[in-house]
């Protein structure tokens, strides 16, 4: 029988308890608010720099596609087009528009145009050979300094000596802009260009394909081995000192810094096996080493989560151990295994350090065609661009980060979707 005294004591303690609860709640909200603040700052910073990086300035020029000059041999072969005068033709077109005549003027104007303009003209001719011997309005990228001028990074007020554009060049740019020759549009170089020292031509295509090849290799190696290891350790391995040791080692490997795997890859795959440097095959293998512990641990957790009653049910009707595992346990564990794998892959997609160790940081212009061609990957490309001084590279870096983040969101979204789709209740 509670006395009034107990009631009073309980009531008095209630006040204190509620106060504590409120404080705890406040701290939680504060922590989340702080985290959100950081996230918003990060997103605003990346998006504000990165979104302009998706666009760049182009100049529209009327180009005279003279067959004789562009294609001297006449078979539209690479050699013939290369021997032709594409570069000269583009330059003549811009001289015409600006009215540059003297040597100095021509030199100033020439520098406003991207170095890749002749290649751009050649690839246009290659895909539209019917248009030869006509005059076409084509768009060419501006040089990154000219691009920066329109973005307001190069200012007229700055003394001429201290900026990368001369007064003459700025005058030309202003006139061309007034006559509507300059357009600001989605950058095709960013998506379809490869590594380049010229900021206006640099793109992520090579790195994106390198990432794809590397991740494919990584998946093909780590998923089967990881799942098989997990299934064996969880369902078949005897529980003894040796398997315990293996288990501890796998758990520890998951915490090993990724750069260590890079050194291991360098020593094993490149120095010992003699594989070439910088290739996605080696990159994928190194990332597979790194991803394996993650996949094994999450797969084991997924297998453990399958209720024992399912195994016993299968064994009870006379299934062998392998049948019970393959027919019942593994299918039920697959969603969890896939989720773990995709998260491991997302981690691998964003990994830079181990790939630096095996030379995937090399400056490679060609898009890798196979896992044996030298290449680089998105995060390494970002790392390299972040190192360049040109203003435009800062934007391209942010743009590439946005693209990388989009891939990561896609992969994580895929993991959630897969789990929801495959998950079964029992």
């Amino acid at each position: 029988m509670p006395t009034t005294n107990t009631d009073q004591l309980v009531n008095a303690s209630l006040k204190l308890r509620r106060k504590k609860e409120r404080r705890f709640k406040m701290l939680g909200i504060l922590a989340i608010a702080l985290a959100l603040c950081f996230l918003v700052t990060l997103m605003v910073s990346i998006l504000s720099k990165g979104i302009p990086g998706f666009f760049q300035y182009y100049i529209t020029l009327s180009v005279d596609l003279d067959r004789e000059r562009l294609d001297p041999i006449g078979d539209l072969s690479d050699q013939s087009l290369f021997d032709g005068q594409a570069n000269k033709i583009v330059q003549e077109a811009i001289f015409l528009k600006t009215g540059a005549t003297s040597r100095n003027e021509k030199k100033a104007v020439r520098k406003l145009l991207s170095n890749g303009s002749d290649t751009r003209l050649i690839s246009f001719v290659k895909s539209n050979p019917k248009l030869l011997d006509s005059t076409q309005k084509l768009k060419f990228a501006l040089d990154d300094d000219a691009d920066s001028y329109f973005r307001g990074f190069v200012k007229k007020q700055t003394p001429e000596k201290q900026r990368r554009l001369s007064d003459l060049q700025i005058e030309y740019l202003d006139t061309m802009n007034k006559s509507g020759l300059i357009s600001y549009q989605i950058s095709d170089y960013l998506f379809f260009g490869s590594a380049s020292r010229n900021a206006e031509m640099a793109g992520i295509k090579g790195a994106a394909i390198g990432s794809l090849l590397t991740l494919t290799v990584c998946f093909l190696i780590s998923f089967p081995i990881g799942v098989a290891t997990a299934v064996y350790l969880e369902e078949f391995a005897p529980k003894n000192k040796f398997t315990e040791l293996i288990e501890i080692n796998i758990n520890n490997l998951a915490a090993v810094p990724s750069v260590v795997f890079g050194i291991l890859g360098l020593a094993m795959f490149i120095n010992l096996f003699g594989l070439p440097r910088s290739i996605p095959l080696v990159g994928g293998m190194v990332l597979a080493l790194m991803t394996l512990p993650t996949i094994i641990i999450s797969s084991r957790a997924a297998i453990k989560a399958v209720p024992p009653s399912i195994r016993i049910g299968a064994l009870g009707v006379g299934a062998s151990k392998v049948q019970a595992t393959m027919h019942h346990v593994v299918p039920l564990a697959i969603p969890g295994m896939l989720t773990g794998t995709i998260i491991g892959m997302a981690q691998a997609l964003g990994e830079t350090a181990p790939l630096l160790m095996i030379g995937m940081v090399a400056f490679i212009v060609d898009v890798p065609g196979s896992v044996m061609d030298p290449g680089t990957v998105l995060p390494v490309q970002i790392f390299m661009w972040a190192d360049f001084a040109e203003r435009m590279f800062i934007q391209k870096t942010s743009s590439a980060i946005i693209i990388l983040l989009l891939f990561l969101i896609l992969m994580n979204g895929g993991a959630i979707w897969l789990r929801k789709k495959l998950e079964r209740r029992w």
């Binding site: 399912i310 016993i312 009870g316 009707v317 006379g318 299934a319």
Partner: protein, 256 residues
């Protein structure tokens, strides 16, 4: 040989150990064909452990080993040459908690016949599934939704589905480990009625906590206590005139 034919399970001096721990102490028992035998006793008395020695389900438990001899249908099931797969096809099992596979009702029943290669073709498999579901008294309830998942059924239906799954491979013996402990009285009475029917074709050994259930369904009853078989005989005798004072104490509710 008539005697051998009547006895389907013959255990001689069986002891079961979990590591160092002796869970079953030197039990000898003979179980009759096509009858229902119930194992009763307080919790932890080893009746479930002993039940699982009959289809070697204890093999799945780490550190468990057995001494003595268990003969099923004249065969020593712990002989080195014995494969547990055909043994478990011959000695089916229904568990305490209904554990249908998270697959369709059809797949649940078809799984056993499929892995043992019992069906000649698809229509034969359909027949086997239908027969098993009829045998488990579930056919009329699920005939229109064989492609629904088995886990969507009610608890009692799930347990009958598990019985259907067990009888689909036409075992000789069905072991039931407290099959009604998670079911309500109505579902329980359905399962009990089903057991009586099944005992025309199968030998049923049931572990139960409910003495009333043992009295209702079984012809023979064995009373276990602390790993020992205290008393074994006709159910009527055991419940009316228990020979051992321990049995009497348990049945009359003094211990347990």
């Amino acid at each position: 040989m008539a005697d051998l034919d009547k006895t389907i399970v013959k255990c001689s001096n069986v002891s079961v150990f979990y590591g160092e721990n002796k869970a079953i102490n030197d039990i000898s028992i003979e179980i009759e064909r096509q009858s229902i035998t119930s194992f009763i006793g307080p919790s932890g008395c080893g009746k479930s452990t002993f039940l699982r020695t009959i289809n070697r389900m204890n093999d799945t438990i780490e550190g468990c080993h057995i001494e003595g001899q268990v003969m099923v249908d004249g065969q020593d099931i712990y002989a080195p040459s014995i494969d547990v797969v055909p043994l478990r096809a011959k000695v089916g099992m229904v568990f305490q908690k209904p554990n249908p596979f998270p697959k369709t009702i059809y797949e649940n029943v078809a799984y056993g016949p499929r892995i043992h290669g019992l069906a000649k073709n698809k229509s034969h498999l359909d027949e086997i599934v239908e027969k098993a579901l009829i045998g488990a008294g579930l056919w009329t309830e699920v005939r229109d939704r064989l492609q629904d998942t088995g886990t969507g059924l009610s608890g009692g239906q799930q347990q009958r589905l598990c019985i259907a799954r067990a009888i689909a491979v036409e075992p000789q013996i069905i072991l039931m480990d407290e099959p009604c402990s998670s079911l309500d009285p109505i579902a329980t009475s359905k399962i009990e009625a089903l057991m009586s029917e099944l005992s025309n074709d199968y030998t049923i050994i049931i572990v139960t906590h409910s003495m009333q259930q043992a009295a209702r369904v079984s012809q023979k009853t064995a009373y276990f206590h602390l790993g020992n078989l205290i008393e074994y005989g006709d159910t009527k005798e055991i419940f009316v005139r228990p020979q051992d004072p321990q049995t009497e104490a348990y049945i009359s509710g003094k211990i347990g």
